[in-house]
Every structure is written in structure tokens, then in C-alpha cells.
């Protein structure tokens, strides 16, 4: 995970997996987040917990430029302030009602969320494009061992025998979120193949993890 002394970037999701006016759960080292995109396309990372009664905001809904909690409909702006409490429609919610938000950078089809204030931007992917994300019940070390290479300075793992595929892993406790990347020029059949290579890799990684346990 790209980091410097001031902070780090986590690749939490792929842009294609977050259409406008949707929200999904994601995870950074600072905790769980509700990753959402407003109607106008702006991506935000809000703490995944409504301060009202603790409901996960990732179960909520996006209308216009606000994320609303499914429980009582409390709505939050991208800056994190509560802008509406439906039980009290005429009330301007006090400033103190807010959720923590983290900085989001969307580059090359990947959504990165910052913990702290990283000095540098997230790494660029060059001629690689993201394909899909999957989660492995194993650590990065197992993935590196099976793929046959350690993560490079940009956090990418090469896959033995498939030089046009890369993995971008993110540790999440006991498991690892892996974004599968391929060379931009590859056609549909190669993309299908890359997805299946990733699935096969995960099977081997998890079998290895089980044996070790």
C-alpha cells in the first residue's frame, strides 16, 4: 500500500463498481467506510456509521449530492455534515452532527482513499487498466508466494506465466482485497482469461492458507 510518513493511499474499489447515486461498503486502515458517488459523479468516503443510532451508512441510499441512512433517512453531504433529519423537516441540523470523511482520489479507474495526509498522489497504472476485484481469505504473503513475485514499489504483484496481468492487493485484516489489472490493449477473451487466472490463483492461495492453519 503506497504510504509515506504523512499518510497512505488504499485502493478501495474500482470506479466501474461505483455508478452514480450508489453506495458500497469499503475498508481502509482508518476503519470501515461507506464509499459513495453522488448524482453528479463525485466520489466520497464517509465513515460507515451514522451517529444517530449507529447504523451502517453503506446500507443507505444516495439522492442528489447526499448520502442518506436507511434507518431514519438522516442525510449527509460529501463534506460529512448532516443536512437533513426527516423526523424534523424544518430543523437545520446542528454542525455537531457529522460523519468523518476521508480524501478520495479517482485515477485510472481505481478509487483511492487516504488515511492521514499522504504527501504524494496514488501511483499511476501506466498502460494497465482495472478489470475486477475479488477478496481472498489469506494474507498478501500467500498471494505473493503463489503468484511467484513480491509486490513492487507501486504495490503491484506480477503473475508468473501471465506478464500482461497484475494484481493490486490491499490487506483487510485476515483477508486481502485484490484488484485484477490487465494491459489496456487486451481483448475480451484475454479479459475472461485474466478473471479465471485470478480465480484459480485464489483457489491455490486459500488451499495453501488452509494447510498452514
Amino acid at each position: 500500500m503506497p504510504s509515506d510518513t504523512a499518510g497512505s493511499w488504499t485502493p478501495v474499489a474500482l470506479s466501474a463498481d461505483l455508478p452514480a447515486a450508489t453506495v458500497m461498503p469499503a475498508w481502509t486502515s482508518a476503519g470501515s467506510i461507506a464509499l459513495w458517488r453522488s448524482q453528479s459523479g463525485r466520489a466520497s468516503a464517509s465513515s460507515d456509521r451514522c451517529p444517530h443510532r449507529g447504523m451502517r451508512l453503506s446500507h443507505g441510499f444516495v439522492r442528489g449530492e447526499a448520502l442518506s441512512c436507511i434507518y431514519h433517512g438522516w442525510s449527509y453531504s460529501p463534506a460529512g455534515g448532516c443536512v437533513r433529519i426527516p423526523a424534523h423537516p424544518d430543523l437545520v441540523p446542528p454542525e455537531t452532527i457529522r460523519v468523518a470523511v476521508q480524501t478520495v482520489e479517482e485515477l485510472d479507474g481505481v478509487i483511492w482513499v487516504a488515511a492521514g495526509q499522504p504527501a504524494a498522489q496514488p501511483p499511476r497504472l501506466g498502460d494497465l487498466i482495472p478489470l475486477r476485484s475479488l477478496t481472498a481469505e489469506a494474507g498478501i504473503e500467500e498471494i505473493e508466494a503463489v503468484a511467484g513475485a513480491k509486490a513492487n514499489a507501486d504495490g503491484l504483484i506480477s503473475v508468473a506465466d501471465y506478464p500482461w496481468v497484475r494484481l493490486l492487493p490491499t490487506p483487510q485484516g485476515d483477508r486481502t482485497l485484490v484488484h485484477v489489472l490487465i494491459e489496456q490493449s487486451r481483448g475480451i477473451e484475454d479479459r475472461v482469461a485474466a478473471s479465471r487466472i485470478a480465480e484459480a490463483l485464489r483457489r491455490r492461495v486459500e488451499a495453501r492458507q488452509k494447510e498452514a492453519a
Binding site: M55, H59, H72, P86, A87, H88
Partner: protein
């Protein structure tokens, strides 16, 4: 079971009387395994894991028991004795949440338009008007009265949208009784209860029950309506953080619509009813 505190001496639902068997059913109370069965003489019998006989009551269609020594009798619901009432055993649903969170959700109305959409509430009718809340010292119960909410389909017996009036009552730490406008008999209240069996601090079996004035609706329809409402709440209950109900302010922010829940949390804290709760000091 250090966390049980004062809740050890309370009564809890442990089964439906009508579905008892002689072989018995294994369940639990606050982490302790118990067994609930029908004795040869037809009465209910509850035993703890090590064979100790536990106190038993059969009331409101359910078998009640306790791991401790209840000082009070099981709370009364006088409406249950009114002639003409139909009793509905809704059936158990297990939820991975604190028993106290389950009760608090039952006391809440601001979620109706979002969670029970087009049944108990609908946008834009989201406003919660002021209502009255008190802790009645004599009975030592939490009561909310003059609660009103506009509902598209308030009950199986309702034929259209009405403004429903409610009263809420908490007579025991994991039980709540709700009284609501009864469409077939204006002036009377339909009684809907939530009896919650604490299995662990973050796991409970919920036993809803009703005493209604409704001679028209088939029993299965009544059961299904209530199961539908509860199932809509279940996915909320399993996704609240923290799992344990915070009894101290700070973690969660109530508004005027939440007066009943604020009183409930204060009442729980006052009584040291902390199984399923968390305090700031912890």
C-alpha cells in the same frame, strides 16, 4: 455470567406454550443452556444445564423463566383479559443483535417511512410530532403516550391511510408493549408486544405477540403481517455499531423524536440492566 447484573432476576420468554413437546427444546438464557419441555401433566417445565429447576410462568401464549429469583410477578397486560380479544402467537425470530437494541427499535417510529415503506409510513410524511414520555415511578415502567404517525396501511384490518395513535410501554428490560389505534373498534387499543429472550449479549430470540380486536382477518394473515414488519427491522438490527447498546451519551445522538429511547436507556442504566449494553467506563 458477570454481565447479567440486575437482569438475572427478571422473567424472560423461552418458548411458545402451544408448541411445547415432551422431548423438550434446548435453548439458552444469557449464555446459560436451558431446556424447555412439557411435563406429563401438561404443564411447562424449564431446567438449567445442570438439571436445576427454574421458575416458570405461562402467560400471553409464552413460557417464561428466569435464571435468578424474580422478586416481582411477570408484568400485567389487562387488555389481554378483555373478552373478544384474539391472541396471535407470531413465532420466534433469531437476531444477531443486543436484546436491548431489539427493544429500542420497537419503540422507534421515525424509521417507519424508510424501513416499513408504504405500510407503517411513507415519504413525505416523515415528521415525528412531539409526544409525552415518562418513567412511571409506581409501576417502574417507561411510558410514551400521545404518539401519532400517518400510516398508509397501519394494520391488516385497516382499509386505507390513517393517522395512528400509539402508546409505548417498557415493563421489563427486554419487553415492550405497544398500544395502537384499533380500526374496527375506535376507542379500544390493539396490543402488540415484543418479548425478547437474551441468548447472549449480541444474540437474541424475539417472540412477538398480539392481543387484537379483529374478527375478520384469518390468523395466518395476522401472523404474516407481524412477521413481515419484524423481518424488515432485522437487517437494521444486525448492522448497528456498536453491537451493545450505549447507555452513556456521546456515541449516539438522539433528537426530540427519540424521547422514548432516551428514557429507556436512562431507565436501564438506573436499574443496572446492562446485559447487552455498554457504558463509557468500559
Amino acid at each position: 455470567m458477570m454481565k447479567a447484573g440486575a437482569m438475572i432476576d427478571e422473567w424472560y420468554p423461552v418458548g411458545l406454550f402451544s408448541r411445547l413437546t415432551e422431548t423438550g427444546n434446548k435453548t439458552a438464557l444469557m449464555g446459560e443452556p436451558i431446556e424447555v419441555a412439557r411435563a406429563q401433566d401438561g404443564s411447562a417445565r424449564v431446567t438449567s444445564g445442570n438439571g436445576r429447576k427454574l421458575p416458570v410462568r405461562v402467560r400471553y401464549g409464552h413460557v417464561w423463566s428466569s435464571l435468578g429469583n424474580p422478586v416481582k410477578e411477570l408484568f400485567a397486560i389487562p387488555e389481554a383479559d378483555q373478552p373478544g380479544r384474539r391472541f396471535v402467537d407470531v413465532g420466534v425470530v433469531r437476531v444477531r443483535c443486543s436484546p436491548l437494541r431489539a427493544v429500542e427499535n420497537f419503540l422507534d417510529i421515525a424509521h417507519f417511512p424508510f424501513v416499513h415503506t408504504d405500510i407503517l409510513g411513507a415519504e413525505p410524511h416523515t415528521e415525528v410530532e412531539n409526544y409525552k414520555v415518562e418513567i412511571r415511578e409506581d409501576e417502574d415502567e417507561v411510558w410514551a403516550t400521545q404518539v401519532k404517525f400517518y400510516q398508509p396501511q397501519a394494520a391488516k384490518s385497516a382499509t386505507g391511510g390513517i393517522t395512528t395513535e400509539y402508546m409505548y410501554r417498557v415493563p421489563a428490560p427486554t419487553c415492550s408493549v405497544l398500544y395502537k389505534t384499533c380500526p374496527p373498534r375506535p376507542g379500544e387499543w390493539d396490543v402488540i408486544t415484543l418479548f425478547v429472550q437474551p441468548l447472549a449479549e449480541d444474540l437474541c430470540d424475539v417472540w412477538p405477540w398480539m392481543a387484537l380486536f379483529d374478527d375478520e382477518t384469518p390468523m395466518t394473515d395476522l401472523i404474516h403481517f407481524q412477521q413481515m414488519i419484524f423481518l424488515q427491522d432485522r437487517s437494521i438490527l444486525e448492522n448497528q455499531i456498536p453491537a451493545l447498546l450505549p447507555l452513556d451519551p456521546g456515541m449516539e445522538i438522539p433528537t426530540r423524536a427519540d424521547l422514548t429511547s432516551v428514557a429507556y436507556r436512562r431507565w436501564l442504566k438506573r436499574h443496572n440492566y446492562t446485559y447487552g449494553a455498554q457504558l463509557v467506563a468500559q
